[in-house]
């Protein structure tokens, strides 16, 4: 637990145990109420478990916000001799550390969530795909799996129910794109981790061609709580269209960087003030939310509460929940350059618009950084971004232009004056 981040909130659900129990002692998790959900689950009908999760309104926390219950239903309904569940722990979105904290601080909460999901969809094999850099997470989760097996929470005939489930860790190879679910699946099959053309989608045809659920660590960590306390409890937390709590990470120019858990009933400005002790080094100029491909939020936008509905209305997303604060001494162009360099490196190169586009974007932003950019360069940049938003096959190519387009919209004058 050497790398645990600072936890800024106190009224927590997912983070409740973190720092308060020894993650390597399953007894402590059990004493805190752990594995009650699994006990309840194995006495339930599989479809009933899915219904509870659907009713709760839980949405995926890996960035795409897809309703979790609906996804599970696809796999539940699919006919196959083998189904899989994969927990996506490839966390590579800059500014995002939540999955690491959840794995290192409370691994049994995650294992319990995965096992419940496996039961519901009928998977007998599961994997946690952890990014290779996270050695501590890998060791902690491996140790926790072993303990769960010894206690009969994993393996054959779980809790005497006749349900068998085998869980193991797969290690990522240091490629950001492997967080995309189909690239992740290819990587697990021993191939280059490049996104597949969709459809078919993984819930119907995934790992080794079998129906496969891919869910984020945070998504699955919510599941035991929903099963124990019920879908209504969950729906009553926060705004009705964005139920439940969400983990956010504060970084950049804030006085207190760290991780926090809150229902979606606070504005980002309030989060920065309440949990981050305010902006450091000046006033807030903008915040990029949801990692490198996240949208840029102006101070006015930060004042709003961004429920799921409002996000849809304004076509923005808070993605993984990282809040990257920039004060008024920061240059937008410098910020864009770091982001552009990131994507130039991380584009997997499978589709031409993304491979060439990320490279060209960096070149043009570089011109502005050197003070050589012109009005026509900026127009070209915008056009390029609009093309990229439409053409590539995966979310990287489509979303990496978001911050660039936002910056052009909100900070055109500053970019041209650079």
């Amino acid at each position: 637990m050497k790398y645990n981040a600072k936890i800024l909130s106190t009224d927590n659900v997912l983070l409740k145990n973190i720092g308060n129990i020894d993650p390597l002692k399953i007894e402590e998790y059990v004493t805190s109420g752990g594995y009650e959900a699994l006990k309840k689950t194995v006495s339930m009908d599989r479809k009933e478990v899915i219904d509870v999760v659907s009713d709760s309104g839980l949405r995926g926390r890996g960035g795409a916000n897809f309703p979790t219950g609906r996804k599970w239903l696809f796999t539940y309904n699919a006919q196959a001799d083998q189904k899989y569940i994969i927990c996506n722990a490839d966390e590579g979105e800059p500014g995002t550390v939540k999955d690491r904290i959840l794995m290192e601080g409370d691994p049994h909460q995650l294992i319990e969530g995965i096992t419940i999901a496996a039961y519901a969809i009928g998977a007998t094999k599961g994997f946690i795909y952890i990014r290779g850099e996270y050695r501590d997470s890998i060791n902690t989760v491996n140790a926790a799996i072993k303990q769960a097996e010894e206690k009969g929470m994993l393996g054959k005939n779980i809790l005497g129910s006749g349900f068998d489930f085998e869980l193991s860790v797969a290690m990522g190879g240091g490629a950001y794109i492997c967080g995309e679910e189909t690239a992740l699946i290819d990587s697990m099959e021993g191939k280059r981790g490049e996104p597949r053309l969709k459809p078919p989608y993984p819930p119907v045809e995934g790992l080794f061609g079998k129906p496969t659920i891919v869910n984020n660590v945070e998504t699955l960590s919510n599941v035991p709580h929903i099963i124990v306390k019920g879908s209504e409890w969950y729906r009553n937390i926060g705004a009705s269209c964005s139920p439940g709590t969400k983990l956010f990470m504060l970084c950049g120019d804030v006085n207190e960087p760290g991780i926090l858990e809150t229902p979606i009933d606070l504005s980002f400005a309030e989060i920065i003030k309440k949990y981050g002790k305010g902006t450091s080094g000046g006033e807030v100029k903008f915040a990029q939310i949801g990692g490198s491909s996240g949208n840029i939020f102006t101070p006015e936008m930060l004042e709003k509460v961004w429920t799921y509905e409002r996000c849809c209305e304004f076509n923005v997303s808070y993605g993984t929940g990282s809040i990257f604060v920039c004060n008024d001494r920061r240059s937008v162009v410098d910020h864009l350059l770091t982001v552009a360099e990131f994507f130039e490196h991380e584009s997997c190169g499978k589709c031409t618009p993304c491979r060439e586009g990320t490279h060209r974007i960096k070149e043009i932003v570089e011109e502005f950084a050197f003070g050589e950019g012109t009005v026509s360069d900026l127009e070209l940049l915008k056009e390029l971004c609009l093309v990229m938003k439409r053409s590539p096959i995966c979310g990287l190519g489509q979303a990496c232009v978001n911050p660039v387009l936002d910056a052009i919209e909100y900070f055109k004058g500053e970019i041209l004056a650079n």
């Binding site: 981040a5 800059p94 240091g174 280059r192 760290g258």
Partner: protein, 160 residues
């Protein structure tokens, strides 16, 4: 061609036996070899190809895709400094300069004694504790010019 190194062959045989010969075990095997020898040599490709029945071209395609697999011997200690935004804002530049000055090489190069190599990496999930870097698989966070020099000294001592 490099000669067949008995040590390497035995290691790969053990690794393949541990994971199995299925295609899905290619990455774990590559990683094992990389960790043990610091890189995956041409000779290693040949052995893996023979034992797992995957063409060398295929293996190369996979190995070159993942930044964790080295295809050449870069150095005993590969230092990967995070150049992504949080670390950049937290003072990555100072660490960068300190490392270059101390080792007498630029990023992308290795020291003559083969001890260290300097590379950049993208975000490694220590954003709230930047600047951060990896030395082989060991993470270091909250770096300062002083602490990074301590890390280097420690690795130098280790070698002796």
């Amino acid at each position: 061609m490099e000669c067949r190194d008995g040590n390497l062959v035995a290691f790969i045989e053990r690794s393949v036996a541990k994971y199995g010969t299925g295609r899905e075990n290619l990455l774990p095997v590559l990683r094992d070899v990389n960790e043990e020898f610091g890189y995956v040599s041409g000779a290693a490709f040949i052995e893996i190809s023979r034992l797992m029945d995957i063409s060398i071209g295929e293996i190369h395609g996979v190995a070159s895709f993942y930044s964790f697999i080295n295809e050449e011997n870069k150095g005993n200690y590969i230092i990967r400094l995070c150049k992504t935004i949080s670390c950049d804002m937290a003072g990555k530049d100072k660490i960068e300069k300190t490392l270059e000055r101390e080792l007498g090489i630029k990023f992308g190069e290795s020291t003559k004694d083969g001890l260290f190599a300097l590379e950049y990496a993208n975000c490694m999930g220590l954003c709230d504790k930047g600047p951060a870097m990896l030395v082989n698989s060991q993470l270091y966070d909250s770096l300062t010019p002083e602490s990074v020099l301590d890390v280097i000294s420690e690795y130098r001592r280790n070698i002796r």
